[in-house]
């Protein structure tokens, strides 16, 4: 029954089908990258450096003659893993935070939102840099740092929707029927915030892909030689004119992933909200 609904939505909505297809492909590449990649991404091929795209090296080779295609494929894992981790932490914390503030309201809400504003005043990249300064470079500190700066935005989105929902009479009806505040918040208010949460998650995932790449580009995130789109771009920068493909393909990968995800998020929201359909 559920599967049938999903299949019919996919058939009727090409934008959903294409974006979902792309997202699935990216996920498959992320999971099975090392087996898909035609070559070892760290295999140095002396004498084959800076080769343009060809039958042997589909996306060309880099300074050390490593196969760019294989490096991109394997790098997908870091891009998605990092971004998903940011989204899970960010949206998880933000939802709990926003739901509490929005459902309780009043002074608690005020104080919680002001604290959020303070966190929000840190630019994302600065927070990433700060966490790297404290915990050293690597994916985990960068992910946590980004999740924390994004969190107040997610919290604010959930909070304002929770506020709107709490004023609906079904919440008062629940109180009058003797339902506990926890039940009302989780079973009634939260599901009505779901489409906002999904939209927020899709937006944050896109930002996270870009910001994580930027931090790797700055040498703070994923460390070479582990292939990652950000650190590949950083390297490409040194040979932009000589070997532009080194920048073009990682950039395309980032753009396609972000676009596909954004469309997927928008269509998903449309289909998940039963009242938005007709």
């Amino acid at each position: 029954m559920r599967t049938a609904a999903v299949l019919s939505a996919l058939r009727r909505d090409p934008a959903l089908a294409i974006s979902a297809g792309l997202v699935v492909i990216f996920v498959i590449i992320a999971v099975f990258g090392p087996w898909i990649a035609p070559q070892d991404p760290n295999q140095i091929n002396p004498g084959s450096n800076y080769l343009p795209p060809s039958g042997d090296f589909w996306f060309g080779t880099d300074r050390s003659g490593r196969d760019l295609f294989s490096r991109l494929i394997v790098g997908t894992r870091m891009a998605l893993l990092g971004a998903f981790a940011v989204v899970v932490i960010d949206v998880g914390l933000g939802t709990v935070y926003g739901l509490i503030a929005g459902y309780i309201g009043g002074r608690v809400d005020n104080i919680m939102m002001r604290i959020g504003d303070i966190l929000l005043s840190f630019p994302a990249l600065i927070m990433g840099v700060l966490f790297v300064a404290i915990f050293g470079p690597g994916l985990i500190p960068v992910v946590v740092g980004l999740a924390l700066v994004y969190m107040p935005t997610a919290a604010r989105v959930v909070r304002s929707q929770a506020r709107i929902q709490t004023k609906e009479q079904y919440v008062e009806a629940g109180r009058l029927l003797g339902y506990s505040p926890l039940r009302i918040a989780l079973r009634h208010v939260l599901p009505n915030c779901l489409s906002q949460i999904i939209v927020q998650a899709s937006i944050v995932l896109a930002y996270a892909v870009v910001d994580l790449a930027a931090l790797s580009f700055l040498g703070l995130g994923v460390q070479p030689p582990t292939p990652d789109w950000g650190n590949m771009l950083a390297e490409a920068q040194k040979s932009m004119l000589l070997a532009p493909w080194l920048a073009i393909f990682p950039a395309l990968a980032i753009i396609i992933l972000v676009l596909a995800w954004n469309v997927f998020g928008a269509r998903l929201r449309y289909h998940l909200d039963p009242t938005e359909r007709r």
Partner: protein, 347 residues
């Protein structure tokens, strides 16, 4: 006539809301209050339908919310049989869960009153599950029984509320309110958001349920034409104060409170028109509920009022023909009539 069986008793109830203040008031420390319910006393008889009428903003919903336990009154008491439900500054007596089985509310807007993410079946099963009345399997049968009670087919359980029309939604809201078998039902303008064609059905349903289940009903409306169909008695609120409390027949028949008469003249469907055959809107402005005038609240719009009416608040007094009215002129007229009758019998 036997003494009425009092089910709910509201005593000197007051409910104030703080006014949203501007910067100036904050700096000066001025605190102002909306007098939403301003010293209301009334009884709800067991098994009756008491209509609560008055223009928008007269405090009907606030009074209802106090009785339901959604609001904590600032002063006064609310009793249900011999249990005190609320007093100044506190809900008393039963816990929220116990209260849920005593008083329930039917809301004005059934769309807002239903969680659009849940199927009707889940909405109606939830009270049973939360109150551990039965398990999930047994709840299905109970949900069907509830749906039947409000005239909906069992398949309704499979639908989301947005797939139903407004009348069906309101039936679901009514069914949910009945799930815990409450004794008192408060219907807050339950037909105001429905098409005229559907209003009659819902009115009849509430009336039928009251009889079958022996419910005591408070029916809030600003439309007097429905009062005659459903109410046994009528309570008229104005600016948070009770103006008149009367049997329905007498309310439409006798010379009641000047405000009631103005309301009657302004209700098109009643065709109760003045001598000139015109439909009259009530002239004048409603005073602000923040600065409530010291005397009769209706003075600014009352065709019969004079300076004396503005000095003290007219007390709610029993009329010789039955019912209660808060008006100096009506009290004086009653007094003159009884005096006249008394002298007449002597002479």
């Amino acid at each position: 006539m036997s003494a009425p069986d009092i089910h709910v008793s509201v005593k000197e109830l007051r409910m104030l809301f703080p006014v949203k203040r501007g910067l100036r008031d904050r700096v000066l420390g001025v605190k102002q209050w909306v007098h939403a319910v301003d010293g209301v006393s009334l009884d709800l008889h067991r098994g009756e339908c008491l209509a609560l009428v008055g223009e928008s903003g007269s405090g009907k919903t606030t009074l209802a919310n106090c009785i339901a336990g959604s609001l904590v009154p600032v002063a006064g008491e609310i009793w249900l049989d011999d249990v005190m439900l609320a007093r100044a500054g506190a809900l008393t007596g039963p816990s929220a869960r116990e209260r849920a089985r005593l008083v329930q509310v039917i809301f004005q807007d059934p769309t807002s009153a239903l969680n659009r993410r849940l199927r009707v079946g889940s909405v109606l099963a939830e009270p049973f599950l939360v109150h551990k009345i039965c398990n999930r399997a047994e709840a299905t049968a109970r949900v069907e029984a509830l749906l039947a009670r409000v005239g909906l087919p069992p398949e309704t359980a499979e639908h989301y509320s947005h797939e139903l029309n407004a009348s069906q939604r309101q039936r679901v809201v009514i069914a949910r309110a009945l799930a815990l078998e409450p004794r008192v039902l408060i219907a807050d303008e339950p037909i105001a958001k429905l098409d005229v064609s559907m209003q009659g059905q819902i009115l009849n349903l509430i009336d039928q349920l009251r009889r079958e289940l022996d419910l005591s009903v408070i029916f809030i409306t600003h439309d007097l034409s429905v009062v005659r169909q459903i109410a046994t008695r009528v309570a008229v609120l104005y600016l948070g104060q009770l103006m008149e409390l009367q049997e329905t027949e007498a309310f439409f028949g006798s010379e009641g409170h000047p405000y009631s008469q103005a309301l009657l003249r302004s209700t098109p469907r009643l065709r109760v028109t003045a001598e000139d055959g015109e439909l009259h809107t009530i002239k004048g402005e409603i005073p602000s509920p923040i600065d409530v005038p010291p005397g009769c609240p209706f003075l600014s719009r009352c065709p019969e009022g004079d300076d004396d009416c503005g000095r003290t608040r007219p007390p709610l007094q029993a009329r010789s023909a039955g019912g209660l009215v808060a008006c100096f002129k009506r009290a004086a007229a009653d007094l003159a009539a009884t005096d006249g009758a008394a002298t007449g019998s002597h002479g």
